[in-house]
């Protein structure tokens, strides 16, 4: 019998399934019992299940039914649609979501109002995940050295590997993943380490949070993480920060911050300052935005720390420095300072010191033990792996949900020296093209897993559909390396958390495991005075940042995210080099002119785009584009700037020949005046004056209310 029949057959013999199905189809139980009718009924069931998108029956989990939402979100009524909870995992951290199903298949991502990471909102990436689920370019089968394989060959190969690895006690066995908070994954790797003591687990995240981790280590000796409580913050200072766009917990932070922004709906409106070299969402949200390049920041942040903690007032600071310090001191206990991941570790340590000195700990933020599983320095971890690969010390390499051939210069070459390498990925990647095995992963909506939110809350991921194409989960693969038994991810995840039936049910229904929020840590600040490294002097400073929508490039095949206009540049389908107006003036650049930017010996030629509000010496290169192996949407879109991450030398920028046409949805050069006519804005005591100046404005308002009232029933 084919696989599908086998699956259905097993299903039809499962009493729980039959009982549930008979509620819908009363004759089903009788029909399945009668041998003559049985095949006919199975045929119909197959057709029906296929129409409902469940045709790709797998052998796992007979009766693995999704738990309907027992506790639906308040204030919403959904008719005819069903919502099932899961999470969108970005950078390893979970944002709880609900997936809405229509006609039996997942259609739309909505926020989970019960989940602490968002309280109901979603990010653009979270919304776009549904397109990734249906992506026609997804991996559809095993490939070994370019040839399709049957699953049995994987089982055989892994069995052989298990043997070899056991012989060497795991010496030469390496697992590379991205940043992860999954308790199940961590448990499985710990279990593997029991079996193979010398194996190593490497981490690599191209959009690095190493400095955040290192800063916490400097300040506290432990890799503690920040949980901001922006609802209690009266004064927010962000330094080159991703607090609202990609920091773990950014959805929640944005919500809490925004709740205190409208003076008519909050008792005390908060105030936000931003100091940054290039515009970010925190900069736009800020009441005062100060522009400072990396060299300026390297001077200003220590001075700020000295002023806030010790009271020294250093000289030759910008004009805004003293009022900022005064404001920080005036809001003691109600302020919060946040630095972004691109700032060096010393800056993070100083920020920790400042936050403690300003009395915010416990009020405006808490520190918790690291949510990331087994945090290490990613750069060192990857460097170690590449060195070992080059030295021939790696025999078996497992790459799970990571694309180092594209994101880590030098990895591709080193990969050639690894005997057996396997990539587990849900779509084509540059790494998958080069490793020995290319294993199709299940999409996040297709299997069981778990992850933790920014505050430690455990979120279970439950499948929203049977796998569209054959695929396996990381849990299955890791278990396969431990022993020959093929496990079911649901069992593995369930085993990690030790929940009873009711708790499991509730966790799936609400989208989070109750009571798993990490308690605040009481670790004390170490009295260190880290020196912030001064960046090299030069005409041009190169900043490398993740693209707001593609991040490190993993979403390059998501057409919605490619076409989504970036918040500040309104660019789509491209990643020009963002240059400051001063540099554009100096090099006589207009939008689209080609430039060559070089970092040490490595140069990339790409178009330029003028970014108003950027520090005069800064240029920003955006990661995530220029992928060569990603599927039809993202192939060849944009320019690959990852080579620039390897350079250590001086940065140079030259105008090159030619122009490129860039697709921005703002189809003209930016204007710098009269924005207030359209986006009314003002300051608190003058809020009366922000109404438009047209003489009949009041009568318009009357007319509006009148005409609206005229439409209300009973009026």
């Amino acid at each position: 019998m084919s696989r599908q029949w086998r699956g259905l057959d097993r299903l039809s013999r499962d009493p729980a399934f039959v009982a549930r199905a008979s509620a819908e189809f009363p004759q089903l139980a009788a029909a399945l019992a009668a041998p003559r009718d049985r095949r006919g009924v199975l045929k119909l069931m197959a057709a029906g299940l296929a129409l409902a998108g469940l045709g790709g029956c797998d052998d796992g989990a007979p009766g693995g039914v999704l738990i309907p939402p027992v506790l639906p979100p308040t204030d919403t009524v959904f008719s005819g649609n069903q919502m099932f909870a899961t999470a969108s995992v970005v950078g390893g951290y979970a944002n709880g979501i609900l997936v809405r199903h229509a006609n039996g298949r997942p259609i739309k991502v909505e926020g989970n109002p019960l989940h602490p990471a968002s309280l109901g909102g979603t990010s653009a990436i979270g919304q776009a995940e549904i397109l990734g689920f249906y992506d026609p370019d997804r991996s559809r089968g095993l490939i070994r050295k370019g040839e399709p394989q049957a699953w049995s060959s994987l089982l055989t190969a892994v069995a052989a590997q298990r043997e070899a690895i056991r012989q060497s006690h795991g010496q030469g066995f390496r697992v590379l993943t991205g940043s992860t908070t999954s308790p199940t994954l961590a448990r499985q790797i710990a279990a593997l380490k029991q079996v193979y003591p010398d194996m190593q687990w490497h981490r690599w995240e191209p959009v690095s949070r190493d400095a955040v981790r290192a800063g916490a280590l400097l300040a506290y000796g432990q890799p503690v993480e920040l949980v901001a409580k922006l609802g209690a913050v009266d004064l927010l200072l962000t330094i080159d920060s991703d607090l609202f766009d990609s920091a773990p917990g950014h959805l929640r932070f944005a919500r809490d911050f925004a709740a205190r922004r409208n003076p008519t709906r909050t008792d005390r409106m908060n105030r936000a300052y931003a100091i940054e070299p290039t515009p970010t969402l925190t900069g736009v949200a800020a009441d005062h935005r100060f522009i400072a390049g990396p060299r300026d920041l390297a001077r200003i942040v220590p001075a700020l720390a000295a002023a806030v903690t010790g009271g020294e007032q250093p000289a030759d600071m910008p004009a805004w420095f003293a009022p900022l310090v005064a404001d920080l001191k005036a809001t003691r206990g109600r302020s919060f300072i946040h630095a972004g991941p691109a700032q060096p570790a010393a800056v993070h340590a100083l920020v920790h010191a400042m936050n403690e000195a300003l009395g915010g700990r416990g009020q405006t933020y808490d520190l918790i033990a690291s949510v990331e599983a087994d945090p290490v320095d990613h750069a060192a971890s990857l460097r170690g792996l590449i060195d070992d690969m080059n030295g021939g010390r790696v025999t078996t390499l497992l790459i799970i949900d990571s694309n180092p051939v594209f994101t880590a210069p030098g990895f591709g070459e080193a990969l050639g020296r690894v005997a057996v390498s396997m990539t587990l990925t849900d779509g084509p990647t540059e790494t998958g093209a080069k490793t020995t095995w290319n294993l199709p992963a299940r999409h996040g909506f297709e299997d069981w897993s778990d992850a933790r939110a920014y505050d430690g809350t455990v979120t279970l991921l439950q499948p929203q559909a049977r796998p569209l194409y054959d695929g396996i989960s990381p849990h299955y693969l890791l278990a396969l390396f431990a022993g020959p038994e093929e496990v079911n991810s649901r069992d593995v995840v369930r085993q990690t958390h030790g929940l009873n039936e009711q708790q499991w049910h509730d966790a799936l229904a609400t989208g989070l495991v109750a009571g798993t929020r990490t308690a605040p840590s009481d670790v004390a600040l170490k009295p260190v005075q880290p020196a912030v490294p001064m960046p090299a002097a030069g005409d041009v400073t190169l900043l490398i940042r993740p693209d707001p929508h593609l991040l490190d490039g993993r979403y390059a095949n998501n057409a919605w995210l490619q076409e989504l206009p970036r918040p500040l540049t309104k660019l789509t389908w491209d990643n020009p080099l963002l240059v400051s107006p001063a540099i554009a003036e100096r090099l006589k650049l207009t939008n689209g002119d080609q430039v060559t930017v070089a970092n040490g010996g490595v140069g990339v030629t790409l178009p330029a785009w003028i970014m108003p509000g950027q520090a005069p010496d800064c240029v920003v290169a955006l990661l995530g584009f220029g992928r060569s192996d990603v599927g039809m949407v993202g192939q060849g879109v944009g320019f690959d700037v990852y080579p620039l991450t390897a350079g250590r030398g001086p940065v140079s920028l030259h105008k090159a020949d030619g122009r490129a046409v860039l697709a921005s949805t703002e189809h003209h050069d930016p204007l710098f005046e009269d924005a207030g006519d359209y986006v009314h804005h003002g300051t608190p005591p003058h809020s009366r004056q922000i109404r438009p100046s047209s003489a009949n404005q009041r009568s318009n308002r009357r007319n509006t209310t009148a005409s609206l009232a005229g439409r209300l029933p009973g009026a």
Binding site: E666, H667, H668
Partner: protein, 446 residues
């Protein structure tokens, strides 16, 4: 040639005129230059057909229209052609009512220009639809859904106006042909042509009863057509004035468009009669007087249009609305400023040369001025349509527009089709209205 030439040169008489004019149409073999001349227009006509077919196949996206400039060449060309067409009706209807004698010899050419100009104009509103196969929904026909078109829309008024105009232009043109077709039938050298022209002449025999009815009908139609052409062009202006778009919402538009129609119409007539006069040896009947009169009319229209431009500026600055002023500055100094200044140059400045009688009679200069006016009128439509749309009220919606290759090919195609049509007319139909000329020429040979 002087401006004081008579309407027909001395010695012109009816028999000679009839022989000459009907001879052109009845010639047994076409003139050599006719074959050469028709090649390019025929090619362009096939380009037009090809462009239209590709348009229906691929969609209106092959043109350059986008957001916010959702109207482009199609509307520009439509207005441009209808203005050209209107010029013909002015001459045939309006100047009929004024009993101007000079009109009689150029009347037929003018009406034929109307016919093909209106044809070229009329296809564009259908082509530019996103779903052109449903264009008939603009017509109020009884249907099972009880749906009427939306009568408040200027586009619907436009639909009725153009429909009326095309139908009445065809009727008026055909009616004006009847006596001449009868003449051709009577003079036909071959039985085939006799039957052809006979059928087309609808049995016109020239009896006095028929003539009485004919003159009455003709008078009525002219009296209808003269205001009709003004109203049609006003409605075309209302296409814009009835919109809230920046720069369009002005009560000046309906008369302004009529002025523009005068201008382009007279220019095109001039451009047609000058080569025709030479090539068909019609110098007797189209004299310096005609050139002088048309030149003066062109100058007058140019002054009207210039007045329109000045009032445009006055309305904008006197009104003081920021969005309007921004858009107007765009016209003067923005991305499309070249096109605006070309408009001023060709429509207002160059025609001022026609103050001089010597210029009015210099056919080369007049031809250049007329071509300039035609281009200038196209540029004016471009400015009106594109510049207003590309600078809407919200700055976030500013955008650019460029015509695509298909836009240009379709435009050239319609030009070719127009010339093709005129050449066909010349070949098959008397190019001068013989029966009307008989009213002003000597009845017998001297």
């Amino acid at each position: 040639m002087t401006p004081f030439d008579p309407v027909a040169l001395a010695g012109s008489n009816n028999p000679d005129m009839t022989d000459h004019v009907s001879g052109i149409a009845l010639r047994s073999k076409a003139f050599r230059w006719g074959w050469i001349a028709i090649v390019l227009p025929a090619a362009l006509t096939s380009v037009l057909i090809g462009s239209i077919l590709y348009l229906f196949y691929a969609g209106v996206g092959i043109w350059g229209i986008d957001w916010p400039v959702a109207w482009g060449f199609a509307i520009i060309n439509y207005v441009w052609w209808i203005a050209i067409a209107s010029g013909g009706t002015f001459i045939s209807a309006l100047f009929f009512l004024t009993r101007s004698e000079w009109r009689n010899s150029i009347n037929r050419i003018a009406e034929s220009m109307t016919l093909f100009g209106a044809a070229c104009a009329g296809i564009y509103p259908i082509l530019h639809l996103g779903r052109p196969w449903l264009f008939y929904w603009l017509f109020p026909y009884p249907n099972t859904m009880g749906l009427w078109p939306q009568f408040r829309s200027p586009l619907l008024w436009d639909f009725f106006a153009i429909l009326t105009y095309v139908i009445s232009s065809v009727v008026f043109w055909y009616l004006g042909l009847l006596p001449d077709l009868a003449t051709l039938r009577d003079r036909a050298p071959t039985r085939g042509k006799q039957v052809l022209y006979g059928v087309m002449a609808l049995g016109f025999r020239g009896t006095s009863t028929q003539w009485r009815h004919y003159h009455a009908l003709y008078g009525v139609l002219a009296a209808v057509m003269a205001p009709l052409v003004c109203s049609v062009h006003s409605i075309v202006g209302l296409d814009f004035a009835g919109a809230a778009t920046v720069g369009w919402h002005s009560t000046m538009y309906p008369p302004f468009f009529i002025f523009g129609a005068f201008l382009s119409g007279f220019a095109t007539v001039l451009l047609l009669i000058m080569p025709m006069r030479r090539l068909l040896r019609l110098e007797r009947y189209i004299t310096g007087r005609h050139l002088d009169v048309l030149g003066r009319l062109l100058l007058t229209s140019s002054l009207f249009v210039g007045y329109g431009y000045i009032m445009d500026a006055f309305n904008t600055y006197y009104g003081g609305e920021k969005a309007e002023i921004t858009m107007y500055q765009e016209r003067l100094f923005g991305y499309y400023a070249g096109i605006y200044w070309a408009t001023i140059l060709f429509n207002v400045l160059l025609p001022q040369l026609l103050w001089f009688a010597a210029v009015r009679l210099n056919q080369l200069v007049v031809a250049l001025i007329a071509i300039g006016v035609i281009i200038g009128m196209w540029c004016e439509r471009y400015t009106i349509v594109v510049v207003s749309l590309h600078r809407p009220r919200l700055p976030s919606a500013y955008g650019l527009y460029h015509g695509s290759i298909w836009d240009w090919l379709t435009l050239m195609g319609t030009v070719g089709f127009f010339v093709f049509g005129i050449l066909l007319i010349v070949r098959l139909i008397p190019v001068i209205s013989m029966f009307e000329m008989r009213e002003i020429l000597a009845p017998r040979r001297p």
